[in-house]
Amino acid sequence: GAGVSQSPSNKVTEKGKDVELRCDPISGHTALYWYRQSLGQGLEFLIYFQGNSAPDKSGLPSDRFSAERTGGSVSTLTIQRTQQEDSAVYLCASSSLGQGLGEQFFGPGTRLTVL
C-alpha cells in the first residue's frame, strides 16, 4: 500500500553529466506527472503520461530533458548535460484518473544539485 516513491532522494552531480531520476507511482494509477520546484518558485509542470497515450511534453524546458514510462508503471526522467540551473527538487505524482480528474499523490522528491 505504499505511496509514490522516488529515487534517489538526493543527487549531487557535476555540470555536464547526465542524471536519471526514478519514480514508482502508486500501483494501478494510470496517470503520472513530473514537476520541478526551484528555490523560491512554485511547482513547474514538466511532463504528463496517461496510460499508453503519447506523453504531454509541453513543460519540458529544453531538449536536454526527456522522460520514459515503461510498462505503464515506473518512469525515468533523464537530464543530459546538466547545468547549474537544473538544480531543483524534482517531484513525481500519480493519479488514478487522467485528464486531471483525480487527486494527484506526490512522491517525496529528488533533490538535484548541479555543481
Partner: protein, 112 residues
C-alpha cells in the same frame, strides 16, 4: 499565458490567530482549483474546488472558490505552530492535459 498568483508571499502570525490566504488565476480551460500544504518536499492535498460558492471544510481549514472573480481563499482558524508550512494553490486544466499549474505559494509561520 496561464498563471496562478498567490498572496501574500509570506505571513507571520501568532498561535490562535485566523489567517486568510489568497489565490487568483488566469487559466484557459479551467477545471478545478486545488490547495496543497508543503512542509518538506512533497505537497499534501488539502482541498479540490470545482463549483463556485461552495465552502469545503476540514477541521480548522476551509476554502471557497469564486469563479466570477477567478479566485479562491484558504482560511485557517485558531492557528497552531504545526500549521507552519508553504501553502500551494494550483489550477487543474481540462481537456487533454492533466497537469496542474501552481502558484509560488504562501509561506506561513505560526509563532508560539
Amino acid at each position: 499565458e496561464d498563471k496562478v498568483v498567490q498572496s501574500p508571499l509570506s505571513l507571520v502570525v501568532h498561535e490562535g490567530d485566523t489567517v486568510t490566504l489568497n489565490c487568483s488565476y488566469e487559466v484557459t480551460n479551467f477545471r478545478s482549483l486545488l490547495w496543497y500544504k508543503q512542509e518538506k518536499k512533497a505537497p499534501t492535498f488539502l482541498f479540490m474546488l470545482t463549483s463556485s460558492g461552495i465552502e469545503k471544510k476540514s477541521g480548522r481549514l476551509s476554502s471557497i472558490l469564486d469563479k466570477k472573480e477567478l479566485s479562491s481563499i484558504l482560511n485557517i482558524t485558531a492557528t497552531q505552530t504545526g500549521d507552519s508550512a508553504i501553502y500551494l494553490c494550483a489550477v487543474l486544466k481540462g481537456g487533454s492535459q492533466g497537469n496542474l499549474i501552481f502558484g509560488k505559494g504562501t509561506k506561513l509561520s505560526v509563532k508560539p
